[in-house]
C-alpha cells in the first residue's frame, strides 16, 4: 500500500477526529461548581499520575466523582498534592471520554457494539496470525496501569496471543536505571524508603527536576534541609530544585560518566572511600579504580563543562558526609549510554559504602505512577512475573506451572518498543494492540513512528481518551480511568499501595482487564483467563511472583490497607515487607555488589557546524507524560498551553531572536516551530523543549531514536539541533498578553 500518500493515510480527517474527540478543554465538575453537594462516599485512593503515588480521597456523589479531599493520614504525602493531582478528578467525567467502542470506516470513527468491535479485533488478529505466524501481532502496554493489569498484559501476549512481541512504555522511562540496578545490585528497586532522605547529611541529585516532576517528593528534601542537610544538584538547567541547591553542577547534557568518574577520582585521591566496605561487600573495584585514574578534575571539567573546582567541592562534600544518598531520574537515564551513566553514579555509592543504612542509600526516582510495579511482573520484552527472566529455563518452568501452560507454548524474549516499531516498518509485525500509551507523543522520531502505524494491517487500541496515537487505530475500545477500577501500584520506593474504585465507567466504557480478557476468550484461550475481578488476578500474581526477586507472595490487599503500603520483597504473609534493601547482602548470588569500570562516551550526536546546539527535552509540572489526560484540563493548559524552547540570552542574542518570538528548531530528523523563552537558567550551548505535545508540537519530531545497547532506551536527552529565525507575520505570538493590559475597567 502506498502509505506515503496523505490521502491514503489512516488519519485522513484529522480535523473531524479532533472535533469529535478533542483534546477539548474542560475545567469544572461534570455538573458545575456547587457548594450544596451531598457526598455519598469518600474513597481513599492514590493519584493516577507520577510515582510518588500520593494518597487522595475522591468525593463521590450519585456514582459521579465530583471532587477530592486531601488524605492527611497517608504517610508519604500527608495531604499534599501537585496541580495535576488536585485536578486529576476532572478527567473522570470529561466530555472527551470515549463512551462506545469505535470502528474506523472510510477514515472516520463510528460507534459500534462491543460484540462487533471485539469480533473484528479477534478476526483480524486470527487472520494475521494464520497468514504470518503468531509473532505478527505486537502488544504495547504501559506503566500507568495497575500491577494486576500489567501482569495481565504480559500473560495475554504470551498465553493469549502466543506472540513474543510485548513491551511497555517504561522502556522510554527508567529502564536504564532498571538495567544498571540489576547489574550492580542484582535487583531492580530503589534501595531506601523516602523516610531515609531527611536523615542524610548530603543528597546528590542527578538529572532529576524534583520540583516539577515529583513535586511532593520535595517534602522529604526540605525535611532534610530543615535538619541541616545539603543538596548537590547535577542538571544542565537551573531548575527550581537546582536553584535551591547548595552546589549546582550545570553539566553538558550526556556527560554524566565523566562527572561521576571525576568525583570518584577525587574521592580516591583524598582517601574518602570506605576500603572495608569495598573489600567485604563488593566486586570489581580494581578495574574501576584504574579507569577513573584518568579522570582528574581537569579532564572531567573539560568533558562536562563544569568547573574543576566545583567537581572537587562536590566530591569533598559527598565524601566527607557521614550519611548521604544519591537520587537520579530521567536526566541521566534517557541516553544512548544511560545504563553507564547510572552505573557510574552507583560506583560513587559503593566506593563510599553509603548504602543499606538509615540515611545512607541510593535510588532512581521512577517516573510513571506504576513505573516500579509495571516493570516487575512480565510485560517487559524479556521478563516474566516477579522480575524473572524469560530466557532462564528455571524461571520459564515456574511460570508455566502457575499458568498451566505447556512450556513449548511460552514464547522467547521479544524486543524493545523502538525495535518493535522498526519491525512494523519492516512488515514483520503486522498488527498491534496498545493500551496505556501515546506513541505519537512519547516515542522518539515521530515521523518514523507515523510510518510504522500507517504500515500496520490492523491496529487496535484501548484507551479512555482519543490520544494522538489512537487516531491511527482501526478499532478503539473505551477503557477505564484509575478511579473506575481497583488494584495495586508500586511507588518509586517500592511501596505497594492500593487503588480503590470510586465509581463505574461512564457510558459503555469497560474496565481494561475485562476488555483484554474478553479478547483472550474470543481468541479461544479461555482456559488461561478465568478472572472474575482484579483481586483474582492479584492472587495469581502473588503465586507467580513467589520466589522471584519482586516477591509479592506475602502481600495482600488487606495488609496494604493496614500498613499504608507494603514494601516488596515480602515472601510470606507474616513478613512485614522490606523498606530498606541491602542491609546485609546484595542480590547477586555471592551477596556482593558489583563495580563497573565505565569510560566516558559522548552522546550519539554532538554539536557540529550544521547543528551547533544540544537539544534536551523534559517535562513541566502542569502536564503528565504524553498529556493525553492533562492536556484536556483547562487549569493545567492555561498554565502551560504549548511547548516552548528555552534559550540562554547570549545564544539568543547571537541568533538575533527575541523572547516570545517563534523560531524553527531543526534536527537531522525533523523540525518544529516553538516560541522562545529566553532564560539565564540554561547552559549557553543547550536548548530545552518540554515534550508533552503531539503532531507539529512534538519535540520528538527532532529527538534521536538511537538506543542504549543494554536498556534500549532512546536518547531523548541529547541531540544536535539548530535554530532558524522565521521571517513571517506570525510574530510575536503573545500579542495582547505581552502588553499586560489591565482588565479592571471592563470585562
Amino acid at each position: 500500500m502506498p502509505t506515503e500518500l496523505y490521502s491514503m493515510s489512516k488519519v485522513s480527517n484529522l480535523e473531524q477526529i479532533i472535533a469529535d474527540f478533542g483534546p477539548h478543554l474542560h475545567d469544572a465538575p461534570y455538573d458545575g461548581w456547587r457548594a450544596n453537594r451531598v457526598i455519598d462516599k469518600v474513597v481513599p485512593t492514590h493519584c493516577p499520575y507520577c510515582a510518588v503515588q500520593c494518597g487522595m480521597n475522591l468525593l463521590v456523589e450519585n456514582n459521579h466523582v465530583v471532587g477530592f479531599e486531601p488524605r492527611y493520614d497517608f504517610p508519604v504525602n500527608e495531604g499534599r498534592l501537585c496541580p495535576k493531582g488536585v485536578t486529576a478528578y476532572l478527567q473522570v467525567h470529561h466530555p472527551d471520554r470515549l463512551l462506545h467502542p469505535l470502528i474506523k470506516r472510510n477514515g472516520s470513527f463510528e460507534p459500534a457494539s462491543w460484540d462487533e468491535a471485539l469480533d473484528l479485533v479477534v478476526s483480524k488478529f486470527k487472520e494475521l496470525q494464520s497468514k504470518h505466524g503468531k509473532d505478527s501481532i505486537g502488544v504495547y502496554s504501559g506503566s500507568s496501569l495497575t500491577t494486576e493489569k500489567t501482569y495481565l498484559m504480559g500473560k495475554f501476549a504470551r498465553a493469549g496471543l502466543g506472540t513474543r512481541y510485548v513491551d511497555y512504555n517504561g522502556r522510554l522511562c527508567m529502564v536504564s536505571a532498571a538495567s544498571a540496578n540489576n547489574k550492580a545490585f542484582g535487583i531492580d528497586r530503589a534501595a531506601n524508603p523516602w523516610d531515609d532522605i531527611p536523615l542524610a547529611e548530603v543528597l546528590l541529585i542527578a538529572g532529576a527536576n524534583c520540583a516539577e516532576t515529583f513535586p511532593v517528593l520535595n517534602k522529604f528534601l526540605w525535611q532534610q534541609r530543615d535538619n541541616g542537610g545539603c543538596w548537590i544538584i547535577v542538571d544542565p538547567r537551573e531548575t527550581a530544585t537546582a536553584r535551591q541547591g547548595d552546589l549546582h553542577l550545570q553539566l553538558k547534557p550526556g556527560t554524566d560518566v565523566a562527572l561521576a568518574n571525576g568525583m570518584l577520582h577525587v574521592l580516591i585521591e583524598e582517601k574518602l572511600i570506605d576500603e572495608s566496605f569495598i573489600n567485604t561487600r563488593t566486586n570489581g573495584w580494581e578495574d574501576t579504580k584504574t579507569v577513573v585514574e584518568r579522570y582528574s578534575p581537569g579532564v572531567a571539567a573539560e568533558m562536562t563543562g563544569v568547573p574543576a573546582e566545583k567537581i572537587v567541592r562536590a566530591a569533598r562534600i559527598y565524601g566527607r558526609a557521614k550519611t548521604s544518598m544519591v537520587l537520579h531520574a530521567r536526566g541521566i537515564e534517557h541516553h544512548s549510554h544511560g545504563v553507564n551513566n547510572v552505573l557510574s553514579y552507583i560506583n560513587l555509592v559503593l566506593a563510599t559504602g553509603s548504602i543499606g543504612k538509615p540515611g545512607r542509600g541510593y535510588g532512581t526516582i521512577t517516573g510513571q505512577g506504576n513505573g516500579q510495579g509495571g516493570r516487575e511482573h512480565g510485560q517487559k520484552a524479556d521478563q516474566l512475573p516477579g522480575q524473572r527472566q524469560i530466557s532462564n529455563p528455571e524461571h520459564r518452568k515456574h511460570v508455566c506451572q502457575v499458568w498451566d501452560l505447556p512450556e513449548e507454548e511460552l514464547p522467547q524474549a521479544g524486543v524493545s518498543v523502538v525495535e518493535m516499531f522498526q519491525k512494523m516498518r519492516a512488515g514483520e509485525i503486522r498488527g498491534l494492540l496498545s493500551i496505556c500509551n501515546n506513541v505519537m507523543v512519547s516515542l522518539p522520531d515521530t515521523n518514523e513512528v507515523r510510518r510504522s502505524l500507517e504500515g500496520l494491517d490492523f491496529y487496535a487500541c484501548i484507551d479512555f481518551f482519543m490520544s494522538e496515537g489512537s487516531r491511527y487505530a482501526d478499532v478503539v475500545l473505551p477503557g477505564s480511568t484509575w478511579s473506575e477500577d481497583e488494584g495495586v501500584t508500586a511507588n518509586s520506593e517500592g511501596r505497594v499501595v492500593k487503588i480503590n474504585k470510586a465509581a463505574d465507567p461512564p457510558g459503555e466504557a469497560k474496565e481494561d482487564w475485562w476488555i483484554v480478557q474478553e479478547i483472550a476468550h474470543r481468541m479461544g484461550r479461555e482456559k488461561y483467563f478465568q478472572f472474575k475481578n482484579p483481586r483474582e488476578i492479584f492472587e495469581e500474581l502473588r503465586i507467580a511472583s513467589r520466589g522471584g526477586n519482586a516477591d509479592y507472595y506475602g502481600i495482600t490487599w488487606e495488609k496494604i490497607e493496614r500498613q499504608n503500603g507494603v514494601f516488596w520483597p515480602c515472601p510470606s504473609e507474616d513478613h512485614p515487607g522490606t523498606p530498606r534493601l541491602f542491609e546485609d547482602r546484595f542480590y547477586h548470588p555471592d551477596g556482593k555488589a558489583r563495580f563497573h569500570a565505565i569510560e566516558f562516551e559522548p552522546a550519539q550526536e554532538t554539536p557540529d557546524e550544521e547543528f551547533p546546539l544540544i537539544l534536551t527535552s523534559g517535562r513541566v509540572v502542569y502536564q503528565y507524560l504524553s498529556g493525553n489526560q492533562t492536556r484536556r484540563i483547562g487549569f493545567l493548559v492555561e498554565q502551560c498551553p504549548e511547548p516552548y524552547v528555552e534559550i540562554h540570552p547570549e545564544t539568543a542574542l547571537k541568533l538575533k531572536v527575541n523572547d516570545g518570538e517563534r523560531v524553527r528548531v531543526v534536527s537531522r530528523r525533523g523540525e518544529g516551530v516553538f516560541p522562545v523563552l529566553v532564560v539565564k537558567t540554561i547552559r549557553k550551548d543547550t536548548i530545552f523543549i518540554p515534550y508533552h505535545w503531539g503532531e507539529q508540537l512534538a519535540v520528538n519530531q527532532l529527538t534521536n531514536p538511537e538506543l542504549d545497547p543494554i536498556s534500549k532506551i532512546p536518547e531523548f536527552k541529547a541531540c544536535a539541533a539548530r535554530i532558524e529565525k522565521i521571517h513571517s507575520r506570525q510574530l510575536p505570538i503573545v500579542g495582547e498578553k505581552r502588553k499586560g493590559s489591565s482588565r479592571s475597567e471592563f470585562r
Binding site: P215, D226, D659, S742
Partner: protein, 211 residues
Amino acid sequence: MFIDPQRCIGCRACVAACRECATHKGYSMIYVDYLDRSETTATMPTVCMHCVEPTCALVCPADAIKTTDEGVVLSALKPRCLDCRNCVNACPFGVPKYNTEMHLQMKCDMCFDRSSEGLKPMCASVCPTGAITFGKYQDIVPLRRTKPVNAHVFGNQKVETKVYLMLPTDADAVEVDGCGVFEGRVMPEQHPGTESWIDLQVEQTDKSNEF
C-alpha cells in the same frame, strides 16, 4: 499561616486547590507569580496576609468585611457589599478581587469552612514543599531555619499581618518602596524586554482585579 518563598516551586497546586473549597465556588483566591522568569525560576505565592488592622475593612464604607476572633479577615458579606471596589484598590498586597457576575468582593478567607472545623486551608494542605504552611507559631518556627517576619512597610504605611513570611535570618521587615509608580519611575510594561512572556501570561490570568 507561613509563606516561605524559597521553597515555592511555582507548581500552582495551591491555585488549583483553592477552587475546590466549597464556598469558593470554583474561584481561586491565591496567586503565584514568577519574579522574572528570564533571570530565575523563583516564584512567589500571594495569599491574603490577614492584617491585624486590615486596610480593606478600614476603607469599606459598608463595614462588609469582618474579622473573626482568630484574626481571619473574611470576604465581603454579600448583603452589604456595595460593589465600590475600595478594598480592591486599597489593599497594599493586591489581594481582594471583584467578582462582576456575583457583584461581590471575594478574597482568601483561609478556607473559613475548613479552618473553622479544624481542617487546614486547601492551599496549605496541598502545597508540596511547605512553601505555604498552616499551623501554630510554636509548632512551625522551631522546625525552620528561616525567620518569621510579619511587618511590612509600604511607604508611610506599616502593616502587621497574621500571616508570616519566612525570610533570611537578618530580615526584620519587608519594605516596599511605593512600587515606584508614583515617583514617576518606569513601570515594567513600558520595557517588556526585561520580563518574559510567561510572566505576563500568568499575570494576565492571575492578576487581573476581577474574576
